[in-house]
Symmetry: C2
Subunit: 405 residues, 2 copies
Amino acid sequence: MSNLEYNNELVQKYSQLSRTINEEFINIHPIQRGGILTPEAFKALIAYGDGYSLCDNCLKGRIDQIENPPVVGFLKDMAKFLNIDNIMVTAAARESKRLVMEVLSKKYPKRKTVLIDSLAHYTTYLAIESNNLKVSEVPNSGNPEFKIEAKDYEKIIKEVRDKENELPLLVVLTHVDYKYGNYNDPKPIGKLCKEFNIPFLLNAAYSGGILPIDCKEYSADFVACSGHKSMAASGPIGILGFNDDFYDDIMVNSKIQGNITSKSFPSKLCTVMGCPPVYGAPLITLMASFPTVVKRTQKEFVDEESKKANYVIDNIKNVKGIEILGKLPKIHPLTNIKTEGFAKVAESHPRKGFFLRDEFKERGIIGLLPGISKEMKFSTYGLTWEQIKYFKKSFIETAKKYNLL
Amino acid sequence: MSNLEYNNELVQKYSQLSRTINEEFINIHPIQRGGILTPEAFKALIAYGDGYSLCDNCLKGRIDQIENPPVVGFLKDMAKFLNIDNIMVTAAARESKRLVMEVLSKKYPKRKTVLIDSLAHYTTYLAIESNNLKVSEVPNSGNPEFKIEAKDYEKIIKEVRDKENELPLLVVLTHVDYKYGNYNDPKPIGKLCKEFNIPFLLNAAYSGGILPIDCKEYSADFVACSGHKSMAASGPIGILGFNDDFYDDIMVNSKIQGNITSKSFPSKLCTVMGCPPVYGAPLITLMASFPTVVKRTQKEFVDEESKKANYVIDNIKNVKGIEILGKLPKIHPLTNIKTEGFAKVAESHPRKGFFLRDEFKERGIIGLLPGISKEMKFSTYGLTWEQIKYFKKSFIETAKKYNLL
């Protein structure tokens, strides 16, 4: 029997799962800003909260073939939105990357190296590792811009080819990186991949849903997006966009057969274990937020969000010991700054590295990494101008309090 | 640029994602009954709707190490509840199974066959297929009971061993199957697996959260559960329980290193791509419902639910052409009946096979598979006695309407 007793203590333990900070605080954590639900998604979340709520009207046993609610139409609209031939949903963007590497490994069993930019997310590395592949990094320019140069891709491609007598399996470009929020133009790298005939994956986890994406223009064969990171979905849910060239590699129907029963499941996709795990809230909230996502990635809204990020930067850059990292001006609002002045304060502050987080929290701002005062990462995405000005004011006040301005 | 225009049509298209049926109808679909949210989970869902909401206070970069909300404590409590050494959460139960086969394939590379009962869920087959393994089925007794006999496991284990000169990689038992809702006692099979020294996985997707589970008593090395199927979680979320013997196989830390940057991620789990995709609503709703799940798997509540299922069966079994499939009396309320009488009606009915679904829908009952009148699958789990009696009455009324009683 279970070693766990049902009693009041157990009930109490799990009765406090509130998240009031969500309403009362401004959350500037970069992984949070793009995932905040739209009112439409919130409504859908409440309606479709139960586990398999999307499957009420599943007629074909495949989530991507459900007509009511309009999943089929949504996948087509998403394909148009990203300008790529096909869309499948996945558990998360990391799973999209893992899956692409898996199917390419089967298609090109001799190719063993994945080329990535050196600001790739850790999950890009883990996708490589879990497919038993090798990584080859494209360097960046280092402090302070950490720029990736398209020309270095060509050099590294050739290095891999010469060393291994095989082309790289895949080239990955992080459209906007997690660390400095640098925007990379995929076009020259896509063009290069076409020349060398290497599949090209754009990791758009931070950009798809925030910035416009055009896979055809980029010559991208694959795109990985994140609904919960950048498309205002509750998630977790990932998007995998892929070209027709790879349709048969991604959409692999099951072929296994029971040795006694002869049961088989030819309509099920083996690559996503039948249906990807997004049976209710993850997919429905992605769908509900979709019109807003389409709208907010139009030029005028994107420009406005860049303006907010650059406004904050312009107003805090003169604080003592501040150095803005990454390329400027910002295109994507994910920002990273060196805060040597604050780091110095931390040395003699009773709360040590936590003091900066405390200061902001007292001012109603959360999302700073705990215990770190040497660097600060934030995103202003989706904050109102009022909130932007308040954040700037809080930053300046804190700097003045510690004589850094 | 995107081929998709933002306009009123787009907004309209995704503005109707309501699910009123949820409130107004009784949903008897077996995949839905165990996943219906508790009021506590509903509250948590609303508070933690945003994508990465659980990660506000992540200090170690690992979801299983978050203390606030109490994920660490929850995983320990869940381990006690299932009486197994360790718990990791996954994208879904299918992913738990896939992962177990993957890590065992690395541990025992010569063993190529997975032994499963012939009523295993299709995702068990797909987990085998996606790991390039072979399936060996244990037969069932066929119509009407479809019983799995523990003694057949021994026979098939020996057959595999003799044929391949290797033991099976894994033995899987479906605790309660998706098709007939048959309950299988894991104890004799677990004992057998110990004798032969073969890892034993219990697929408890339909039972964990509905019936009591005791992995130590069963000698189960692994258990796969489903939060959205049977633990009142919004999900999707799976549970993977595993014995200490397999701790190092499941909890594999990343070893990859950037060739230029030397970046590495030793704290990240390679097997679940860093953190399993359950960063907000899926895990928090599982936690919020947990006390209720502990309570509802106590004997008195389990007995009451069996009683409801058997009450319906006793009251409809005399309808013309009805045959109850699976073992009786029911332990788990998932029920499958042959409805030859209704199938005959369908032949001349203008709505053909859809008529039965229509009849029930008119009476406020949904969840019947569309277009099938030969078999009917339902679950009475969690319905009130009032609803049970109403369902029975609706069944009888429909039978009378078509002269089947």
